[in-house]
Amino acid sequence: MKKPKDLNLETLSLHAGNKPDSDFGSRATPIYQTSSFVFQDSETAAGIFNNERAGHTYSRITNPTNAVLEERISSLEGGIGAISTASGQAALFLAITTILGKGSHIVASKSLYGGSHNLLEYTLPRFGITSSFVDFRKPKNIKSAIQKNTGLIFGETLGNPGLDVMNIEMVSNIAHQNKVPLLVDSTFTTPYLMKPFDYGADLIFHSATKFLSGHGVVIGGLLVDSGNFEWSSNKKFKTLNEPYNGFHNMKFVEEFGPAAFINRARKEGARDFGACMSPHTAFLILQGLETLSLRMEKHISNTREIVSFLNEHKDVKSVSYPELENHPDNKLAQEILPRGCGAVFTFEIEGGLESGKKFIESLNIFSHLANVGDAKSLVIHPASTTHHRMNTLALKNAGISESTVRLSIGIEDINDLKEDLDEALKQANR
């Protein structure tokens, strides 16, 4: 019997979710720039609203262009379904609030993107959700941080900006032993470098603003459900296994089985929180995804050369990149990130804060801005910008000092990038 052959990532990046449109045969995914959709008749309208029929009602909840993107990211990650959101932060918020509420607790990695840290540390407690931040390299710390009310474990595939490599298999084992799902921010790795569901993650979100779209032209997020986590009969997850008044007492685990989470997220979170992605944004992310593998290949080859270049540079104190032998996660990175450890990394410049400022201001090709994952190379000083709300201890935990500089390596000519960096380093220490 002929064995089934699933399509590969490079093919799915171009085709998944999309069919030439039935009216005009448009090969590219059309942008359905509409707020709402005309119903064939009253009965059809009632059917779609009551979840008897498949279809679209209002673009805050679903839209055909966004649906293509949602299917595409699901296919690339090996998930059962996804929801596109206004930003990566919106995707994180949607993931958390779909299953947690007042009195819930999250165990999170201490090495998080500043925005995620803000949400967990300062904002969610106002709504009764608290978090403990622990070192994900230490299983004991994760286990001891889990409380009776812990409903989620959350970390990043590659911590921002210190590039801690999450041992997803180890963390997910701990999570599942405690009947808690693992949510992973996979923004830095993308499915090109790693698929967290293969290692036991239950939910993934992306800031699609970064490598997925790849050109720094949109803000968007994606939340993907593996469909693996067993929500039923777990009293912590009442939103999924008890009747929901907001949808005719629907019990999501009983009506949708493995798809309970993603259906609740759409039927409640997308509907009520309203942080939806515009169809035009979805189109631009789809365009970006078409070249994901080509761009990531170039991002990684450029990054490897620049890491090596800076690592040997006299004006650089140290470089933090998991492929370097002195990185604490070097061995793990070799195992789970053989295609590369992303294109974002940090280094410590000789001369401290003042040299760092001078260095950034002397760069010509690198753009000084608060983003990563653009096709263009980027630079920032995390302590004074993206992570400035963290206190000294939190900064230290996240691997950030005052002389830390973060680079996001683009796909420009490698020699031009090296020359730009070399010249700026000279200026910084002049």
Binding site: N50, T62, A67
Partner: protein, 254 residues
């Protein structure tokens, strides 16, 4: 027996009973169940023994499963019913309608064929390494076009959703289900005995139960209603949920 919680009344009703296929459970029927329920029609989307939330011991033949369902109906004093079955579920519907014709008003057989022979290699995989069988069933269970997505239900990736449902089935279930399909005999004679209204909903690109392999069944039923969905594979409720619903409405409204 586990049945879809949307159903409030069971005793003495004349429900439409939805019967899932290999390795599946009642959740494959959520959309039509919600429709018929809103229309005040009694509906039961059941989990077969060993499937979904049904804790009973799995059964390995179509006739045993049919008897099991009839026992359930007797328990709740359900004298007559209609049956909607997908794939293996369609054979169960045929068995029930032919063995007790007076108790069945209508049957809809979705993604069906007779015989429903299962390749030996697939059976062996289902026994020794179910994941391989799941991969094959999912791959063959969708048209090429649907393998690339384009789901009518926004944002859901069809093939992986099907895999996940099957992966959650209990050990040995997929093998027993496939064996039951493969060993089902006498389908054409049974078709002749059916007194109920009969509908067949078939996918033109079905690789598991190809359209042509339903023709003998069609020829042996008494004036069946044959609905073909162009472009659809075997997973018709996923690939064309609205068309399947429209055809079911057509059957039950007449």
């Amino acid at each position: 027996m586990y049945y879809h919680p949307i159903q409030q009344k069971i005793n003495n009703s004349e429900p439409i009973i939805f019967i899932h296929g290999t390795g599946m459970d009642h959740t494959v029927w959520t959309l039509p169940v919600r429709y018929f329920s809103r229309k005040k029609t009694d509906v039961l989307a059941i989990d077969l023994p060993g499937h979904g939330q049904n804790k009973d011991k799995p059964l390995d033949s179509i006739s045993k499963i049919s008897t099991y369902i009839y026992n359930f109906l007797d328990k709740y004093k359900i004298q007559r019913c209609s049956l909607v079955g997908h794939s293996m579920g369609s054979l169960i519907a045929l068995e029930m309608a032919s063995s007790r014709p007076e108790r069945v008003k209508a049957i809809s057989m979705i993604g069906t064929a007779f015989p429903m022979q299962v390749n030996e290699a697939l059976l062996e995989s289902a026994k020794s390494n179910p994941q391989i069988a799941i991969n094959i069933l999912t791959f063959m269970g969708y048209s090429f076009s649907s393998r690339l997505g384009g789901n009518k239900t926004p944002g859901m990736w069809m093939t992986e959703s099907t895999k996940r449902l099957m992966q959650k089935s209990k050990k040995g279930i997929i093998y027993k289900d496939l064996k039951a399909c493969s060993e089902f005999t006498g389908g054409l004679d049974k078709a002749k005995k059916v007194e109920a209204k009969v509908q067949l909903i078939l996918g033109s690109n079905d690789f598991l139960t190809p359209r042509i392999k339903a023709q003998d069944l069609i020829d042996n039923f008494n004036q069946p209603l044959v609905q073909e969905i162009l472009g659809s594979g075997h997973s018709l409720m996923m690939e064309e949920p609205n068309k399947v619903l429209d055809y079911l409405i057509q059957l039950f409204n007449n």
